[in-house]
């Protein structure tokens, strides 16, 4: 079911809701989100902790299913896709990289292996992310946090996604590693022309890297704007006070959100 009118959007949400029920207590995590991310654009997603940003990302590769509404990826509803194909097309990286015991190369080969293929040029990939090729044979135990995150990202992008979901991928990194990871992603994006959905707690990062920015609060998309406008002239009171508070916060501590 390809929808011609919106074929140019990489991701499109239509009235998406999601409710979690735990111990008979329903939590309305997403309350009717609609919006689209054009092909080749970077969306930065900001909002308070627990507002539903990670949940929204998980709907894009069907790691979660929306209760109501539709999610279209390249014009096709997620539930109409072959799921492995969908997840290859929509790559995802998490805050804490999960690497499997073994060597760096073992980890890079995971994606191709699932399809019975071999990774042809691991050295080139290492070079592309500014890591020495002799790291390939090393055990992942020996890597630093920044290196681990880079390996996890390469593992995802060598799968050839056209959409990349990033969930606070630099939150656990020091400033210099953050810079390296940002560069790796922007370089790759420039080459591949992929769309990126980037959740971040660093407003500065959201401002620098986004083409468009969404502000999510309590499961609602309160403001969607081009990034520049969003940060210079936010339209909603909530977004304005969020930006204001975050900027003030930046001076003392960086209030990263912990998972509940």
């Amino acid at each position: 079911m390809i929808d011609e009118a919106h074929a140019a959007s990489a991701v499109r949400f239509e009235g998406v809701t999601k409710t979690f029920v735990e111990r008979n207590q329903p939590t309305h995590v997403l309350r009717g989100i609609s919006g689209e991310v054009p092909v080749g654009k970077t969306l930065t997603l900001v909002g308070p902790s627990g507002s539903g940003k990670s949940t929204l990302l998980s709907l894009c590769n069907l790691l979660l299913t929306p209760d109501e509404g539709q999610v279209y990826i390249n014009g096709r509803e997620v539930r109409q896709w072959s799921i492995p194909k969908l997840r290859q097309t929509v790559g995802m990286a998490f805050q804490t990289p999960t690497l499997f015991p073994g060597t760096v190369q073992d980890n890079l080969e995971l994606g191709p292996q699932l399809r019975g293929e071999r990774l042809k040029n691991p050295e080139e990939w290492m070079e592309a992310v500014d890591l020495p090729a002799n790291l390939l044979g090393r055990s992942v135990e020996e890597l630093s946090g920044g290196q681990r995150q880079r390996i996890a990202l390469v593992r995802t992008i060598l799968n050839g996604p056209s959409i990349l979901l990033l969930d606070e991928v630099t939150s656990a990194l020091d400033p210099s590693s953050t810079q390296v990871v940002e560069k790796l992603i922007t370089d790759w994006k420039a080459k591949s022309g992929a769309a990126i959905l980037w959740v971040t707690h660093h407003l500065d990062q959201a401002r620098r890297l986004g083409d468009i920015t969404w502000y999510v609060e309590a499961g609602e998309l309160l403001e969607a704007n081009d990034t520049k406008t969003f940060f210079t002239r936010p339209e909603t009171e909530q977004a304005r006070s969020f930006i204001h508070h975050k900027d003030a916060e930046l001076d003392d501590t960086d209030g990263g959100g912990e998972e509940a």
């Binding site: 735990e22 111990r23 590769n61 069907l62 790691l63 979660l64 299913t65 539930r79 799921i83 492995p84 194909k85 997840r87 290859q88 790559g91 995802m92 998490f94 804490t96 999960t98 499997f100 995971l110 994606g111 699932l114 399809r115 593992r155 995802t156 799968n159």
Partner: protein
């Protein structure tokens, strides 16, 4: 052994009971219940077996085996509450284990088709299969919870459910088989296996008793392998929903 001398062995129970009472272990009730249950169950089984052994029909033998399997399934399924449809998977795994091991022994005529051989050996295989199933399900559930991030990483790279869970299932198979394999290494050195002890007490020549014990050990080993591999094969798809997501029951740590 007369009933009178058997009743003297209640002294053992009295010791356990006294210790429990004295140390306020809080298991006095459990001790009494277990003793009463074990006594009644075994007495009933003894009479049933006597009756089955004397009757000429194989029907009763088959019926006994099936009942044992049903009880084993009922016991093991509690370990895998989170896995939908676990009971029929257990039924297949435990039955297959029992039928294959006993079937082989019958086929190569190591044991004759008589209730005296078939029923106790089937019980042994079913019982081992049950213990192994419980172990396996326990391991599978906890490993899946502990490794759900790994499973999600594989899924998000485009893995199918069997691909995403394979390493978890393999670990669960390995950990559930370790006790069986390990106990074979020390068997006879630390303690004589129960069957052999029974046979020797009943006046059997120790060398003959050892042969039967070996047969049983080997059969138990293959029972362990058949059970865990069959269960592993059948459960690897059942931890996921139709959208290839790990079931909710495994996505959060137990509160």
């Amino acid at each position: 052994m007369s009933l009178l001398s058997l009743s003297l062995t209640l002294a053992f129970v009295a010791v356990a009971f006294a210790v429990a009472l004295w140390q306020r272990l809080g298991i006095e009730r459990d001790i009494v219940v277990s003793v009463v249950r074990a006594t009644i169950q075994l007495l009933i089984v003894g009479y049933i077996l006597k009756w089955v052994f004397t009757s000429k029909s194989s029907l009763y033998t088959v019926l006994m085996v099936l009942i044992m399997i049903a009880v084993a399934v009922e016991n093991a399924r509690r370990r895998g509450r989170q896995i939908p449809g676990v009971w029929w998977r257990l039924t297949i795994a435990i039955s297959l284990t029992t039928f294959v091991t006993i079937g082989f022994l019958l086929l190569v005529r190591i044991i004759p088709w008589t209730p005296q051989y078939v029923i106790p050996l089937s019980g042994l295989m079913t019982g081992n299969s049950m213990v192994l199933s419980s172990l396996f399900l326990n391991n599978l559930v906890s490993e899946t919870k502990n490794r759900r991030e790994e499973v999600n990483v594989l899924l998000s790279l485009g893995a199918t459910p069997p691909q995403a869970i394979r390493h978890v299932v393999n670990r669960a198979i390995r950990t559930s088989m370790i006790p069986t394999v390990d106990s074979m290494k020390t068997t006879g050195l630390v303690q004589l296996p129960g069957i052999m002890t029974g046979q020797i007490l009943a006046g059997q020549d120790p060398v003959t008793a050892v042969r039967y014990q070996l047969l049983i050990l080997f059969a138990i080993l293959s029972a362990a392998a058949i059970t865990s591999i069959t269960l592993g094969y059948m459960t690897k798809n059942s931890l996921f929903n139709r959208h290839m997501q790990l079931l909710q029951a495994f996505t959060h740590r137990e509160a």
